[in-house]
Symmetry: C2
Subunit: 184 residues, 2 copies
């Protein structure tokens, strides 16, 4: 049994602290502490409490994140996907939509974004890091939930061109680009 | 009167070449050639034809863009907002949504994006460049078109905190940040 002062924190992805708080026995000492992909490069630590998280516990987690070399990022209320995925999903969906509708190719879309924003990667370079299995699952859930036919086209495209062929992104050496030397 | 061989091209923002093609007298020699904000840093040239644009004319425009130091970006079909705004609008909307719903503050949202992607600016740094008048107008049109109440909250927020106070972004020295030395 944990000591009275012990703080519990968890990576949460799309889940919320309030879904787990009651199972912790000390809900006031529980919050989300969410890290991202490629933590060695992208050292974000998003701290998200639930309505009963103690304010001191929240501040202690911010300080803890900082102390281990992370950028501490407070959320003021619960948000599925935290900040990072709430921003990534709309951008990556827009890129996939342009590609699957045949508006432009992977290179043109990524290059536009990279030059326009000064980012080292465009939507498809990012999707390869996220990994095609995750991308496929997120789009599939969304297509099933909304019945959006354009979204279903994206799902079919991902399945046929990537998932079925084992091209899962950076981890398998091929996705929208080939690795370790992608052409973006 | 222009010579037979003259090519007409225009910046188009959210408009499409097919809206103007018939007025040019030589529709096959007309296409969109779209530059972006801060062209000296972000040298994108998106080339977008309409269904009757001649393929040679399209290729000539790609070569012309390259020859004047731009990155030539071909679109395979008409798309309002081209590639760049089709990607920017969803990202910037997601950032504004997080802010106005009180999920996180400007600094936390921008820092998350900058660390997560390696970009030099987050959504609010970008919005200050776009300028608050444009941001306000785009969101207002969207809110009126969709009747989306969350979008209307964004419109009210932009009007009250920025437009009404003359804080229009980089051009006026203040928007989400103050310039010339923004704190992101």
């Amino acid at each position: 049994m944990a000591q009275q002062k012990t703080i519990f924190a968890s990576n949460l992805s799309t889940m919320l602290p309030s879904q787990f708080a009651d199972s912790t026995d000390k809900p006031a000492q529980f919050a989300g502490l969410h890290f991202a992909n490629e933590i060695w490069k992208h050292n974000t630590a998003e701290i998200m409490g639930h309505p009963e998280t103690d304010a001191d516990v929240f501040d202690t987690l911010l300080a803890f994140a900082k102390s281990i070399g992370m950028v501490d990022l407070p959320l003021q209320k619960e948000q599925p996907g935290h900040i990072v995925n709430s921003l990534f999903v709309p951008l990556l969906s827009a890129g996939l939509d342009l590609l699957v509708r045949g508006v432009a190719d992977v290179q043109a879309i990524d290059k536009t974004w990279m030059v326009a924003t000064g980012s080292p990667k465009g939507p498809f370079g990012i999707l390869d890091v996220v990994g095609m299995t995750t991308v496929y699952n997120i789009n599939k859930m969304e297509a099933e939930k909304t019945g959006d036919l354009a979204k279903q086209d994206v799902v079919d495209y991902l399945k046929e061109k990537f998932v079925n062929q084992g091209k899962l992104g950076v981890t398998t050496g091929e996705g929208f680009y080939t690795y370790p030397n992608p052409s973006f």
